[in-house]
Symmetry: C2
Subunit: 257 residues, 2 copies
C-alpha cells in the first residue's frame, strides 16, 4: 500500500496539550487472584491439574488459585503457585501465559474477586507434591462428565479449563508450544504424539516429519540417537529451536475443529 498523506494529527500536533479529562470516578476495590490451568500429557492423555476443595454440601475439583500479594506481579504469582504445588519452576521446558480475566462475585455477598486465569503447559515428567490434594485429571474424562451435566468442576472454572484447552490446541498450529510439552531431548515421534494427544487425531508420520523439519527454527537435531531398545530402530534426537511462531502453521486435521 502506498503511504497515504498523514491526515490525522501530525507528530508535532500530538505534543500539544488540548485539554484535561477527569475519568477517575468511583473505583471498586477487589481481591485479585490468579487461577492456573496446568496442562500436561499423562499416560497418553491430556490432563489438567486440579485440587480438591471441600465445601458445605460436598466439594468439587478446582483450579490452582492464589491471591496476589500486595507487591507481587501477576506473572510472579502464577509462577509461585506452580512452585508451591511442587512443580519445577519454569522455564524448564514449560510455558506459562495469561488466558483471560473475569470478575466474579466473591464468596461473601458484596465482595468481589478478580481472577486472572493463566495457562501452564508442562512436560510429562512433572508430579505435583504438596500438602494440598492435587491430582492430574484427564480432560477427556471431564469433558464426558460435563456433557452429562455431572462435571465435578464448578461451571465457571470448567469454562476456563475448556478455554485453556482450546487455546493450547490452537497454539500448536502456529507456535512452537508443542516442544514445551516434550521432555528434552525428544524424538519426532514424541513430538508427534504431543500433537496427536492434544488434537485427538492421528497424523501421518511422513507428512508430519516433512512439515516439522521444513519449518525453520522449530527443532534442532542433536546428532545423537535414542539407545537401542528391544525392537525398533533408534530415533534421532532433537531439542527445541529458537522459533516461537510458525508460518506457515502445522495444519490441524479438520474433524477435530
Amino acid at each position: 500500500v502506498s503511504e497515504p498523506a498523514v491526515t490525522l494529527p501530525s507528530p508535532d500536533a500530538l505534543l500539544g496539550p488540548p485539554e484535561v479529562d477527569a475519568v477517575y470516578d468511583a473505583a471498586a476495590f477487589m481481591a485479585v487472584a490468579v487461577d492456573v490451568v496446568v496442562l500436561t500429557i499423562r499416560r497418553g492423555q491430556l490432563a489438567v491439574l486440579l485440587v480438591w476443595r471441600q465445601q458445605e454440601g460436598g466439594g468439587s475439583w478446582a483450579l490452582l488459585r492464589r491471591f496476589v500479594l500486595p507487591d507481587e506481579d501477576l506473572d510472579a504469582a502464577a509462577h509461585r503457585e506452580l512452585e508451591d504445588i511442587g512443580l519445577a519452576s519454569l522455564p524448564v521446558g514449560g510455558h506459562l501465559e495469561q488466558l483471560r480475566t473475569c470478575a466474579s462475585p466473591g464468596r461473601d455477598p458484596g465482595t468481589r474477586v478478580v481472577s486472572v486465569a493463566y495457562l501452564g503447559l508442562l512436560p510429562e515428567l512433572s508430579e505435583p507434591q504438596s500438602s494440598r490434594e492435587a491430582r492430574w485429571l484427564a480432560v477427556a474424562d471431564l469433558t464426558h462428565l460435563a456433557a452429562d451435566g455431572r462435571c465435578p468442576v464448578a461451571l465457571d472454572q470448567w469454562t476456563i479449563i475448556a478455554d485453556g484447552v482450546e487455546r493450547a490446541r490452537a497454539k500448536l498450529e502456529y507456535s512452537s508450544l508443542a516442544t514445551a510439552l516434550c521432555d528434552e531431548p525428544f524424538t519426532l515421534a514424541d513430538l508427534r504424539r504431543v500433537y496427536e494427544t492434544v488434537w485427538g487425531a492421528r497424523l501421518d508420520v511422513a507428512n508430519f516429519r516433512r512439515k516439522v523439519l521444513s519449518t525453520p527454527g522449530l527443532v534442532e537435531p542433536l546428532g545423537r540417537r535414542t539407545a537401542p531398545a528391544s525392537g525398533g530402530r533408534p530415533a534421532e534426537l532433537y531439542r527445541p529451536g529458537p522459533a516461537r511462531t510458525l508460518h506457515p502453521p502445522i495444519p490441524r486435521p479438520v474433524p477435530a475443529r
Copy 2:
C-alpha cells in the same frame, strides 16, 4: 487416536472428597479498571482512539480508562466506556474482546490498579463525541514516533496498543473480524481495503475475491449493487455471514509478518 484405558482417576473416584485445602491467605485489594484499545480505519489508515491526559510536567495520550463499578461486569464496563465516549453502543457492526490484564502500581505509592485491557474494533463511521478530548491517531504515526523514542503514549500503554494491533492483524487471518470493520453493506473492495490497511500490504484482487467467496459463511451477497458513481462499474453489495472462525484462513502475505 484409539481411546486409551482410563488410568487417571475414574469418574466415580472423582466424586469422593480426599482432603480440604486452604489456599486463602493474604489477599491484596486493588482498584479495577478497564482500558479499551479502540481501533478503526480513518482515511485509509489504521487509527486508535486516545484521550489527552494532562499531568505534571506535560501530558500524554492515553487509552480510554474506566474504573469498574462495584456491581459491574468487566465487559459491561468496557461497553459503557465506549458509549460514554460517544461511540454507538455495540454490537452495530463492531467487535469487543478482552486483550490482557496487568497489575501495575497505582499513582499513589503502595496502591495498585488492575487494568483489564479490551480491544474494540469499529467501522469507519464512528466519530467520538465527549466532553473529553478524544481523537483518532494513526497507528503508523505512533509506530514511527515510538521507533524514535518519542512516543507520546506511556510505554506500558503503548505496549498494550501494539498488542491490540497485533491481535487484530492475527485475527483477520482466521476470523470474520474484518467484516466488523466495514460499514454494512459493503463491497468486496471495501473488505479488501480493510485487510490491506490493517496488514499494510497489497492483496491481489482476483485471489482475494476467490478466497472470500469460497469461505463458507464469511459474507452473504445482497443481490444489490452500489449506485453508479462517476466512472467505474457498480459493485456487488454484501453483508457479514454467520461464520465467526475461518478455516482455512485468509493467508497473510509474508513480508508483513
